[in-house]
């Protein structure tokens, strides 16, 4: 819940920065970190079972959303690509890094982590009733 509230305040701060015409790099940084905190906060709320955190899914949330936040920060701090610069997978290197860390990494890790943790942490076989 703390991550969710702090994340929302980060997004509000970024929007206020845009409205005030600020050009500081802190403005998109607030938006990026705020968004990953909100997503991580919502995911974290959903993996609590009987008042306790489920360990494998909690680790996944921390690594995936933490990794996305780091990816956003790194790309915001790197210089913008120039014509003729290095390519990675056919795209400017910085763009490819962003797509890999923010797009491909959660795309692959989250569904697999969810499936792997399903029987132990999401719906254990003992909870599977015919009507549920």
């Amino acid at each position: 819940m703390i991550a969710l509230v702090v994340g929302l305040l980060g997004i509000v701060g970024a929007y206020v920065g845009v409205l005030l015409g600020l050009t500081s790099p802190l403005v998109p940084l607030g938006m990026a970190l705020g968004t990953t905190a909100v997503l991580g906060g919502i995911a974290q709320l959903a993996i609590v079972r009987a008042g306790r955190e489920t360990p494998a899914l909690a680790r996944t949330v921390r690594w995936v959303f933490g990794g996305m936040a780091v990816g956003f920060v790194v790309v915001l701090l790197l210089p913008a690509p120039v014509a003729g610069g290095p390519l990675l997978f056919g795209l400017p290197r910085v763009t490819a890094i962003l797509l890999l860390v923010v797009g491909a990494m959660p795309l692959v890790v989250l569904p697999i982590a969810y499936a792997r943790a399903f029987d132990a942490e999401v719906i254990p076989p003992t909870e599977r009733r015919p009507d549920a």
Partner: protein, 486 residues
């Protein structure tokens, strides 16, 4: 050839509809597919109803003109495909089974013991549904006109009639199984065009070199509109996806909760394949125009049709047109179902009346909503554009707080839910109207949906905190047990 493929496509949809209609006997069948949908149809139908014609036409146009900024509309899929199951899947399914729920507002009424929450969320859903349907009816008219040269007006009515035929007879049951066929058409068409697009551009590296020579920002990490716009899109489409009722209410339909295990994997594969066209055609056409191998486009939305006409075999281009029709029709069917359910089921309940003859009345409302959307699409001109931008933002700002967070946080209160739904509804309609009528300019980097979503979330959390003494008393024991997995 296009006419033959188009006719074959509509014939298969009709055959599925006839099959499904024979199996639609109750309101449960009509609104939640008898709660008997297996994993594969469930995942493909969820993908098909998520993607509208935007993935094939408007999206490629945005990639063509904004470059990487537009990719941030689809990039959240990496998170949302799993987050939906994670946040909503289990609890929606269990709540639906335990209470025999039919709709998303039903879940809110059960969660907060509040008919008012059900009524207010149904009003928000109806407003969003009408907007979505009007724009999709217009888009379907454009596609049918392109396939059969019917003219736009008749195209709108033919498209509406075909979708209505299976929606009204077979309800969501027919919708799910036509979605499976339509989703497969979308995925196959998108994947095949992806191969042709990269080949026509000489490979991704050659495409990149051409584009960055003209404008290095387009394929830079944030695209033409910069980091704030890209990140705003990411926030809106990642968090907002948790409030889309056409997906959320599908969790009631899964035959067995254990099948949820592989849903994110399947949904992810289907979604990735269906979105390959959006990126590849957008950047390829940009490079080809810059090289002078294609004439400049009259409008960015011409990117897909012009590419299909010049670089793709006619059978495949016909399949893509069928894919566009499929994407639109599957979305329309889902929205008809939730719109009819809001009128048949949610609003009477909110007003204290038990719904009666829901199958018959649901069918009647389906017809009424579809005809209203077709009339709006045909006659309202610019109003359609306004209605179209309302839908997603309304669902996001009214349903994400109360539903996605409320189902996972026992501290949420009825007052918080009502305040956030009312805030999302009024702020979205008000701000979008002011922006559309040019009475308000939103600076680049901010989206109206971003403002309304973050505001309704903060209202939800703060009002719930202020009224936290009521939280425990507003939770029925069975709902509490489902929320806490006890």
């Amino acid at each position: 050839m296009r006419e033959v493929v188009g006719l074959a496509y509509f014939a298969i949809c009709a055959a599925i509809a006839v099959w499904a209609t024979r199996r639609t006997r109750t309101a449960d069948d009509f609104f939640v597919a008898g709660r008997g949908v297996g994993l594969v149809p469930f995942a493909i139908a969820a993908m098909a109803s998520t993607l509208s014609g935007f993935a094939f036409i408007g999206g490629t146009g945005l990639v063509y003109s904004l470059g990487m900024t537009a990719i941030f509309l689809i990039l959240p899929a990496g998170v949302t495909n799993t987050l939906g199951a994670w946040v909503l899947g289990k609890r929606m399914h269990r709540l639906g089974s335990a209470r025999k729920l039919l709709t998303v507002p039903d879940a809110l009424a059960a969660r907060y013991r509040s008919p008012a929450t059900q009524g207010l969320s149904a009003v928000a859903i109806l407003a969003g549904v009408v907007g979505y349907l009007a724009t999709n009816a217009l888009a379907l008219g454009v596609v049918i006109d392109a396939l059969f040269a019917t003219g736009l007006g008749p195209g709108i009515w033919i498209g509406t009639a075909v979708t209505l035929a299976y929606s009204v007879s077979g309800g969501i049951l027919a919708g799910i199984y036509t979605d499976v066929f339509q989703g497969l058409v979308m995925a196959i068409a998108s994947t095949a065009v992806f191969v042709f697009a990269l080949d026509a551009g000489g490979g991704l590296a050659a495409i990149t070199r051409t584009i960055e020579a003209a404008d290095p920002t387009l394929l830079g990490p944030w695209g033409a509109r910069g980091a704030m716009t890209a990140l705003s899109f990411f926030f809106v489409f990642a968090v907002g996806s948790l409030g889309q009722p056409q997906i959320a209410h599908k969790y009631y339909m899964l035959c067995d909760l254990a099948r949820l295990k592989w849903y994110p994997v399947l949904m992810t594969v289907a979604m990735v394949l269906s979105q390959l066209l959006l990126f590849s055609v957008g950047v390829t056409v940009k490079a080809l125009v810059l090289r002078g191998e294609m004439p400049s486009l009259a409008s960015p939305d011409e990117a897909t049709p012009q590419f299909l006409l010049r670089f793709v075999p006619v059978v495949l281009s016909a399949l893509v047109f069928a894919g566009v029709a499929a994407a639109i029709m599957s979305t329309v069917n889902s929205f008809l179902s939730i719109g009819a359910a809001a009128l048949t089921h949610d609003l009477p309940r909110a007003l204290g009346r038990e719904p009666v003859r829901q199958l018959l009345i649901g069918r009647i409302w389906t017809v009424v909503i579809a005809v209203l959307a077709a009339l709006l699409a045909q006659q309202a001109g610019l109003l359609v554009a306004f209605l179209g931008i309302l839908g997603y933002g309304l669902f996001a700002s009214t349903l994400v707080p109360a539903l996605a967070i409320g189902l996972n946080w026992t501290g949420a209160t009825r007052e918080g839910a009502l305040a956030s739904i009312a805030t999302g509804l009024t702020l979205t309609v008000g701000l979008e109207w002011l922006v559309w009528s040019k009475k308000l300019t939103v600076p680049q980097g901010i989206t109206v949906t971003g403002i309304t979503l973050v505001t309704s979330l903060l209202v939800f959390l703060s009002v719930s905190w202020l009224t936290r003494d009521h939280a425990a008393a507003q939770l029925d024991p069975d709902v509490r047990a489902i929320m806490l997995d006890n």
